[in-house]
């Protein structure tokens, strides 16, 4: 065992320490100090993670046992970490992007009071801690701890500005939606424990491989796990919380709601790829859900006017692509897309943060325009992000998305591929719609805003630049063989993640054809956006289908009518009718009945001797008859 693994516990503990220091000392710490502590602990974790990464790369993974969490008859759960290719890669993404965003935040959140500033960093650190727990856990329970922990931090950070009640509502919505998914996750765990008496990844997967789980079990478990993933990774039907989650500070959106937390579902499924590969039915479901989510979110994104909402729907859509990849069994492509998406989406969120910062909090792109003149670094890095996400060749997104589409084509054929491609085209269209409306043309905001426009400070631009670079080169770890690469990522992940198995691999020729086709179409979409939105004035409300899109297909309203309202009605019915009138009424009714009986019975006590004697005689009669004539 390499020495470095002995220190692995430091990776989560450092952010935890940061959380505690910032949280407990929030009243006494200055902004600089808390910002420094918050960032430094993550950076330290990142450095250790780097060592781990290279260690894993050289010598393979390792399990690190800390202590017994639960040890009772029939169930043994270790508090242990699993460090292998997959988790070490995620460690890097989390701590790496995490440190950048921490750095960015020191500037972005500078207007907050020192107390709130420290609170912000403590939450952020707590989030990193939870996320690390999620990816490092060596069994489903530890993973679940992180899983719920990130949900909690997401809740706390969305509601960071808790004076605003709509933010609080968004926070609640996020948490509750996540909890619905979590229930699925939990049920899967119970099912697992009932069947294999363990939640340890190694045990579960080997048991599954040994066929000690029936097909029903595996399908059920994987479907439930996938339900958990839809919650955390914002898939149909549980995606609606993510756009609302944009209520939180922008760096939070970048870190949690784009780069890391929302990819937890993909991580979990990739981690359990052995299990999911055994459940073709579940894979079919995942494919459909992923594709539908990608398409739906993309369609909504084309008509959103809030800069962060567009990015949010784009995230949902991209997550859909990842699930599409998972559904086709192309786990490596999914993880690859997680990696590249983390770079460019974080970049774009941070860029949008920079824009919002400059606009003094304004988020409506209809009030922007021509910002390129004022904030060149932001604009250029944002453009790089857009190019990457659209899948323009040579940018990172191109490689990952292309592999996903190829996998779809190989597994599900042309039709599905066509739909997926259409979603990809929509991506390019709305991203450039966003870019053109924001950065080109003329400014549409107020004069005061215009006067205030400025490039952001270095603490914000440096992360942008780093991320922009990563967005460009990030794809080169996974150049497919058709393009002359070796797909380093696939090789690295191979001990953990099975590569996609296809009966008849497509030839390179068809691959080239597909790449060419998609690239051409994407460029056409970009041009379309350019034509439409370069000088667009937003002076009329959309109608018809556009309206439906702008109103997000009315999904929120439907949920409200189908779930929230009935739940309230049922609750009130329980409370007012069953509880008060029914059960309590019954209980009190007994009391009332006794009282009533008392009032009636005492009338027998009429005060007259005659009636008393008559009662006695009747009593004598009854008892005599019973004794003498009743033969029971």
């Amino acid at each position: 065992m390499s020495k470095i693994f002995e220190y692995v516990w430091l990776i989560p503990v450092l952010p935890l320490a940061g959380f505690l220091i910032n949280g407990l000392g929030r009243k006494s710490l200055s902004r600089t100090l808390s910002g420094f502590i918050g960032t430094a602990v993550i950076l330290a974790s990142f450095i250790i993670s780097l060592f781990i990464f290279f260690e894993v790369k050289e010598h393979g993974g390792q399990n690190v046992q800390l202590f017994n969490f639960i040890d009772v008859a029939g169930l043994h759960i270790d508090f242990a970490f699993k460090l292998d290719a997959l988790s070490s890669l995620f460690l890097l993404i989390i701590t790496g992007i995490g440190s950048l965003i921490h750095l960015y935040s020191t500037a972005y959140m500078h207007d907050e009071a020192p107390k709130d500033f420290a609170k912000y960093f403590s939450y952020l650190n707590l989030f990193i801690f939870s996320m690390l727990l999620l990816v490092m856990g060596s069994n489903f329970v530890i993973m679940f701890m992180g899983w719920e922990g990130v949900g909690l931090c997401s809740y706390l950070l969305i509601g960071f500005w808790f004076k605003n009640n709509s933010y609080n509502k968004a926070a609640n919505k996020a948490f509750i939606m996540n909890r619905i998914g979590d229930l699925g996750f939990l049920l899967a765990l119970f099912w697992l424990i009932a069947k294999v008496h363990s939640v340890d990844f190694d045990v579960v997967f080997s048991e599954a491989a040994l066929k000690s789980l029936s097909t029903t079990d595996i399908t059920g478990i994987t479907l439930l796990l996938f339900l958990g993933a839809t919650g955390k990774s914002a898939q149909i039907p549980l995606y609606t919380w993510l756009p609302d989650a944009m209520a939180g500070p922008t760096p939070v959106s970048a870190l949690i709601h784009a780069a890391t937390m929302v990819t937890a579902g993909i991580y979990m499924i990739a981690r359990s790829n052995l299990l999911f590969s055994l459940a073709p039915y579940t894979q079919g479901v995942i494919t459909v859900i992923g594709l539908a989510t990608a398409l739906l979110a993309a369609s909504i994104a084309t008509r959103q006017n809030d800069i962060k909402k567009v990015l949010a729907y784009s995230t949902v859509s991209q997550l859909g692509f990842m699930f599409l990849a998972l559904g086709t069994g192309n786990y490596i492509a999914a993880v690859f897309h997680v990696l590249t998406h983390a770079f460019f989406k974080a970049l774009m969120f941070l860029g949008s943060g920079s824009v919002i910062h400059a606009m003094g909090g304004e988020q409506d792109i209809r009030k922007m325009g021509g910002l390129h003149k004022h904030m060149k670094i932001t604009s250029i890095t944002f453009l790089i992000g857009c190019l990457a996400i659209s899948g323009i060749p040579m940018f990172s997104g191109f490689f990952s998305k292309d592999q996903i589409l190829l996998g779809v084509f190989e597994k599900n054929g042309g039709m599905i591929y066509g739909v997926a491609l259409f979603a990809a085209l929509l991506t390019a269209y709305y991203m450039f719609r966003l870019y053109f409306t924001t950065f080109t043309g003329s400014f549409r905001g107020t004069d005061e805003q215009q006067h205030h426009l400025h490039e952001s400070p270095a603490a914000m631009t440096v992360p942008l630049i780093i991320l922009a670079v990563l967005s460009i080169i990030g794809g080169y770890v996974g150049i497919p063989e058709s393009l002359g690469g070796h797909h380093e990522l696939a090789a690295f992940l191979s001990p953990v993640v099975k590569p996609m198995i296809v009966a008849e691999p497509t030839t390179f020729r068809i691959e080239y054809l597909l790449i060419g086709l998609s690239t051409c179409l994407i460029i056409v979409s970009v041009l379309l956006a350019w034509v439409y939105f370069r000088f667009r004035k937003f002076d009329q409300e959309p109608t018809g289908f556009a309206k439906v899109l702008q109103e997000k297909w009315y999904v929120d309203e439907i949920y409200d009518a189908v779930i929230v309202k009935p739940l309230g009605a049922i609750s009130r019915f329980f409370n007012n009718v069953i509880e008060k009138k029914g059960i309590d009424g019954f209980v009190n009714g007994i009391g009332k009945a006794v009282n009533y009986g008392s009032r009636q019975m005492r009338l027998l006590q009429s005060g007259s001797v005659g009636s008393y004697v008559l009662m006695m005689v009747l009593g004598i009669l009854v008892l005599l008859i019973v004794q003498l004539f009743y033969k029971g």
Partner: protein
């Protein structure tokens, strides 16, 4: 035998003391002395089996540990009663020594009731207990309620005597042994009950039900208890009633057959028990006057005591010793608590529940002792009342027959909490009314005695076997 003689003689002594002693307080002390004497002699007879006068009872009596124990309980409770309520007896009217004489005669009747073994003695003991009570009930001559109660009690009492005698006559007629001895009743060999015996026993049963105030023969109870001077209600509702019960169970055990005959009475017992439990408990709920409520509650308590009969009527294993134990403990518990709560009630100015409002603030000790008495009547653990109920249920329950009856009984106990706790609520949780004096004549010795009574209740509640030890000797 000692108990019977001493109480009778002391009754006469008390009677004459009225002639020679003019002091109004003196008879009380004399009575206490007599009671102590009776207690000591009864104990010594129980321990050494020595009697003052060697008399051949000719089969009229049969003394048993059970009877002695009950006498002891009755004497101790009466002692407490005299100590607590002596002054109140003096207040009832001008014939103080006569009241004490009558009380002693009643005790004589009680002593006979615990040891009779002949229907004639049963009849005489019941009458000796009843006739003085008619008088005591009417002793508050200026009070029309007292007059009314006395007449009602008298008329109904004589009526029930008629029923009882008719029953005895039929039993005699149906008894091939031609005897009045309770242990020599010949049921023949058919396994059934001869009709004449059956008629007689039902009638006798009903008359005894009347005396222990079992429904539907209880109607005299609320009116009489309500109308009688409270101090005598206390005596009548506790000691006399339990004594009648002891007589009842003695009779039921010995002369209502044995073996397979006994269970044939079970249905009768069940009907009466159910009626009594329901009637007593439910009617008590609505009462506003505490005195009347206690009257109804005494019916309810009788319902619980009827389980002893039920236990006796169970076939198979020997339930009767258990039933006797249960009756003893229940009687002790009920008498102590009853005397205690009545003693407090007597000193209240207002007999309604509202009269108790805020007593805890003004007289904490009184309220706490009242609390213990009421808890005991309800049957909360740590008090004798619980132990009594516990033994009673234990005696009654053996093989799950009529389990619904027992469940009904415990549910009725829950109902009883309703009316007993109304007083507790008034005492502890309601504000006292500003007007006038709530209680009167609260002396230190009164409080001390109340405390002793409550301690006795708790002692019996914790260590009931101290009482029973005599039986197991």
């Amino acid at each position: 035998m000692n108990a019977i003689i001493i109480t009778a003689v002391w009754g006469i002594v008390m009677m004459f003391s009225g002639v020679f002693i003019k002091s109004k307080t003196m008879p009380k002390y004399l009575a206490i002395a007599g009671l102590l004497l009776a207690f000591v002699l009864n104990c010594s007879e129980q321990v050494s089996e020595k009697v003052l006068f060697e008399i051949d009872p000719h089969g009229m009596f049969e003394f048993s540990a059970f009877g002695y124990m009950f006498n002891n309980i009755a004497f101790i409770c009466t002692l407490l009663f005299f100590l607590l309520n002596g002054r109140d007896i003096e207040k009832v009217g001008s014939n103080v020594s006569e009241y004490f004489a009558l009380l002693f005669f009643i005790l004589c009747g009680v002593s006979i009731a615990t040891s009779f073994s002949n229907l004639l003695m049963l009849f005489i003991s019941i009458e000796i207990m009843s006739i003085p009570l008619y008088i005591l009930t009417g002793s508050d001559k200026r009070n029309l309620k007292s007059n009314e109660a006395a007449l009602k009690y008298f008329l109904m009492g004589v009526f029930s005597t008629g029923i009882m005698l008719m029953g005895i006559a039929f039993i005699y007629g149906g008894n091939a042994n031609a005897s009045f001895s309770i242990s020599q009743i010949n049921f023949g060999s058919t396994g059934g009950i001869p009709v004449l015996l059956a008629i007689g026993m039902v009638l006798l049963f009903i008359a005894m039900c009347f005396k222990v105030s079992a429904a539907p023969f209880h109607f005299w109870v609320p009116d009489v208890y309500d109308g009688a001077p409270t101090v005598f209600t206390s005596f009548m509702a506790t000691i006399v009633k339990t004594a009648a019960f002891v007589a009842f169970i003695r009779l039921f055990k010995t002369s209502f057959g044995s073996g397979s005959v006994q269970p044939q009475w079970q249905l009768l017992v069940v009907i009466v028990t159910v009626a009594t439990l329901l009637f007593g408990n439910i009617t008590a709920v609505f009462q506003q006057s505490v005195k009347r409520m206690l009257a109804y509650s005494s019916i309810a308590q009788a319902g619980f005591m009827l389980f002893a009969l039920f236990a006796v009527s169970e076939q198979g294993t020997n339930r009767s010793s258990m039933a006797y134990e249960a009756v003893l403990i229940y009687s002790a518990a009920y008498c102590l608590a009853g005397i205690g709560i009545f003693a407090i009630l007597i000193r209240m100015n207002d007999y309604t529940v509202d009269g108790f409002n805020g007593l805890a603030k003004k007289q904490p000790l009184l309220a706490v002792t009242a609390l213990i008495f009421l808890l005991s009547l309800t049957g909360i653990p740590l008090t004798a009342g619980f132990t009594g109920k516990f033994y009673m249920l234990m005696a009654a329950m053996h093989n799950g027959h009529f389990i619904w009856l027992i469940i009904l009984a415990v549910l009725c106990t829950a109902v009883s909490a309703y009316y007993y706790f109304r007083i507790i609520q008034a005492m502890f949780f309601k504000a006292p009314s500003e007007t006038a004096i709530q209680v009167q004549d609260i002396t230190f010795s009164f409080k001390l005695l109340l405390a002793i009574t409550s301690l006795l209740i708790i002692l019996v509640g914790l260590f009931p076997e101290l009482l029973l030890q005599w039986l197991f000797r």
